[in-house]
Amino acid sequence: MIPEIGHFALILALLVAIMLGSFPIIGAARGNAVWMGFARPLAHVHFYLIAFSFICLAYAFAAMDYSVAYVANNSNSQLPLQFRIAAVWGGHEGSLLLWALILSIWTVAVSLFSKHIPDDMRARILGVMGLVSVGFLLFMLMASNPFERLIPAVLDGRDLNPLLQDPGMIFHPPMLYMGYVGFSVAFAFAIAALLGGQLDAAWARWSRPWTTLAWVFLTLGIMLGSNWAYYELGWGGWWFWDAVENASFMPWLVGTALIHSLAVTEKRGSFKAWTVLLAICAFSLSLLGTFLVRSGIITSVHAFATDPRRGVFILAFLVIVIGGSLALFAWRAPAIGRGGKFNVVSRESFLLANNVLLAVAALSVLIGTLYPLFLDALGFGKISVGPPYFDAVFAPLMAPALFLMGIGPIARWKNASLPELAKRLRWAFGISIATAIILPLILGNLTPMIGLGLFLAFWIIVTTVYMVSQRLRDSDQALLTRIKAVPRSWWGMVIAHLGIAVFTIGVTIVKGFESEIAVRMVPGDVAHLAGFDFTFEGVKEITGPNYSASKGQLRVTKNGVERTVLSSEKRLYTVTNMPMTEAGISPAFIHDLYASLGEPLSDGAWSVRIYHKPMVEWIWFGCIMMGFGGLLALSDKRYRIKKRAKNLAEINLSKVES
């Protein structure tokens, strides 16, 4: 009975979404305050209905109701409770429901924290989000209903893919979806601005915190996914340029461009049309990501569903959303008006250059991901491009972007002088070059790529330190007071930029200095890697809740002193009969030691892979710094609620100006 109630709630949610997508927008067009006023209560009801439906599905999983097809396909009575709950988004239908739930959460959040936005603008924003929801709910009800019954019911479920039975499954997808779907808010703001014809600094200021928040979620979501792949797939890789990863990386690149372009629109009133276009692209790429991952068009680790009918529906949805919004853009963009003028050498043009580089990088990922699919669909055979293509394209595109990151925040708005910048930054340049050459020489491996990577990382760090010292000098006040006097959003930028530097150091060092061996070991054998001795202590048989495993231990010593013990498991999940490797990792600030069991060989021997990964943790720590920087920027005074009255006055002022 409960699944039927959940299904019914979903149908009601669709009706509410249709109302939300029509009344407020029509009301805004006609200046009807009553119809515009519907937006907020409808957004709340919409959220309650979808949340209720989601709880119904989660209940079916918790209560092991195997008469529901989706539950039977993705769960099993031996599966521990936390994974049974996470299995709600372990497959196609449930992850769409999660998508819809998160969309309704963002919608209700916008309705709660938008009291300072004019009524017609708010009505349009919520209306556009309602329309997006109509698309998703319609898709679920027509092509992939998670509540469909299985008659006759089965005794037990087919279990969740063992690869997904991991704490990563509990946090990574919701976090990533919060980011994906969060760009729908930026998209709704852009469409509302195009519809209403109001696109100014005030609009950018309203849109900015939402976009930053979505970007923070996406950054952390991608980071969790990368970290999960690192320890789960058992061979020490942290990024694979897999189509599914690319699907989340493209919105990130465009979203990063968007938050910078929004900054220019807010501060200088420039880049308006470009900002709107980026907002449309960021959300379109999020939708495309959903399409790529969820239609089964690329069959990879993450794509569990294969059903062409669904693909056609999502494709049609994609065409309507992207085509419609671009058509609206073409129609209304000329009315946006020109922004403030700026010189060829100015902070605006540095930011514009970075924006173009990020957009081109996203385009290169798009080509690398879609072109093989096109060839295949048109019958020209199967090709794959893989990591070498992305590595070859990415380094030359990102190197100038990272270099500009050091200059942009220091250059003046509107009109900067190159000779002056060169003079101010010559020491920073010298220090970065020297460090980038000396450090690899000490570590014993200087290649052009290592030198370049370290140079760019140190360049960002040194220029940032220079910028901070410039900002904090010339005052008699105490240091803490001076730090507090600088807006938090500025500190957010500093920390996020330093996060990029930390990330770059991690990537450069791990790519340049990692080492690995694959050996055949019998108990007592010792393998040597990167100055460490790994003693194989044999394998024990253990039993988990829904698997049996061989657990092998490696004692790690350096110069006879014990450092750590790595234990890796070779699991066999009993329901699906699928083998899985759990790697043994000892993470540390300087380096990770990583071991995974291969296969049992003759005479009690095992094949074992051992990896030495210097500074690999810096990659994820850099991402956490970026996310923290974003959160710090969000806590800035001017976004805080008690300052609303003052903001309103400023906004009205800027309206008069424009």
Binding site: V360, K382, Y389
Partner: protein, 153 residues
């Protein structure tokens, strides 16, 4: 020298176009040189494959073809599309889901002795799931098998 605002805009647009052109060249060049083509065991047998660059082959691991060398890490097996088989040698740890009689994709080069030297072996993470390349190889072999019944050599 006085630069007018109009000229400045032209400079900006010119720089932008040059950069985009450079990026496009870079992307296309990287694309061209990093494409990995896919071939079936039948095509390998006929010699329709590149000799200097690497490529991918897909199919099923032939039953009872898996043999290990004494070092325990070098493995020999054969990939079949049911019409032809290709012997493969690979040094390293095989993926979890590598099994005789199951789908597999290998990337590497053909050596002078006709043995495919794999640098990478891929088997995907679902025991019922067949890698798309492997499925394609079997399908093509079947299609060719049925036409050759109509038109025997």
């Amino acid at each position: 020298m006085v630069i007018k605002a109009r000229h400045k805009r032209f400079i900006l647009i010119g720089i932008g176009l040059a950069l985009v052109g450079l990026a496009a060249m870079l992307i296309l060049n990287a694309f061209q040189s990093n494409m990995v083509f896919f071939y079936t065991p039948t095509q390998v047998d006929k010699g329709e494959v590149p000799h200097n660059t690497g490529f991918r082959i897909g199919g099923m691991v032939l039953e009872n073809s898996l043999k290990r060398q004494d070092d325990g890490l070098t493995v020999h097996f054969s990939i079949t599309d049911t019409a032809k088989t290709v012997p493969v040698v690979y040094k390293g740890v095989l993926p979890d889901l590598f099994k005789e009689g199951k789908g597999v994709v290998a990337q590497g080069k053909v050596g002078p002795d006709g043995i495919f030297m794999a640098s990478e072996v891929l088997a995907k993470h679902d025991e019922n799931y067949m890698p798309p390349e492997a499925a394609e190889a079997l399908k093509r072999a079947q299609e060719q098998g049925s036409t050759s019944l109509v038109m025997p050599k």
